[in-house]
Symmetry: C2
Subunit: 208 residues, 2 copies
Amino acid sequence: MKYFSKNQIENLPRIYRLNLINSSTGYKSANLIGTKSKNGNTNLAIFSSVTHLGSDPALISITLRPKTVSRHTYENMIETKVFTVNHIPEHYIADAHHTSAKYPKNFSEFDQTNLKPEYKKKFYPPYVKGSPVQLGCKFINEYYIKENDCSIIVASINDLFVEKEIIKEDGWLQLDKGKVVAVNGLDGYALPKLKKRLEYARPKKNHK
Amino acid sequence: MKYFSKNQIENLPRIYRLNLINSSTGYKSANLIGTKSKNGNTNLAIFSSVTHLGSDPALISITLRPKTVSRHTYENMIETKVFTVNHIPEHYIADAHHTSAKYPKNFSEFDQTNLKPEYKKKFYPPYVKGSPVQLGCKFINEYYIKENDCSIIVASINDLFVEKEIIKEDGWLQLDKGKVVAVNGLDGYALPKLKKRLEYARPKKNHK
């Protein structure tokens, strides 16, 4: 195996290190976050840091760097306290990735791509039309991570929309039925296929 | 689409809600975390909350519920300040899932499965032999999330081992070359296949 020490990682060229470290923790969810500023400008940006935080109450977390790339999303989130999380199906990969381009704040990524906004249940920010799983979320809290100036946002799930074909009897969503993609590092888009769904694990009867 | 309001989610049967909410944020990385207590007991547990936090310095975050399921891992982490993160290849799915069974603390999941410990670079906790990407991590800080009593652990990457076949010229790891799996909800294991790796996104020349 190839080995990298902490010291070697620190001395790698910047882009090499970005690629290596971003892909070293495994596949991540690829989500489009939709927001709308108080004065009505919509914004759409791709994130790979949306994580499950709890199911009762239903909470998610998102890691953000407020001062850099995700600034418009962050500003709208703080200003309006609401946003949407939308899963990315395979045929949206190119447009979803393009939302990471740095446009001025008054430009909407909905105008720069073929992705269409969708408004439902009187929720203020837009969903992404055609996304197979859509979450309407409310900002609850922000934790400042002093080690590298990130913020971790905690939000509640207020509305949840799911394509009927992917929801199973016990509430589980079979994401591959919606052709939902996962992200590998910063720019690799992969299509997962379900291999096995396993039973709740219990200790073996005869422990060694 | 099927719609769930916040109120409906709160009133779902517990298992249905667990399945629905755990799968609603998309695919997650599946990682085995290896620890060893001060008195030498090894522990191995599967997690889906290991997230990239930053690449310079190389930091990861992990969401834990210290008082419940992940207790042995958490205790060893706090006691020794070191742990390993190991990617799960397809042929380890059943054993990796079995590490979620609740064994007493003096039982090692390495004895209850076919997974083998591996010690490298004098790092105290065990890696999982045969895992295609292995991270040796040092605990740095813990943030208490008051909304649901979770903790978010911040850790640095101290050692990184990668199978040679999956690392590309620019540092990016092509995870599907290592048959690395992703997790869909609590118990669905999926095998992703790379579809596209895209260029750094730049604004279109003629903004609309």
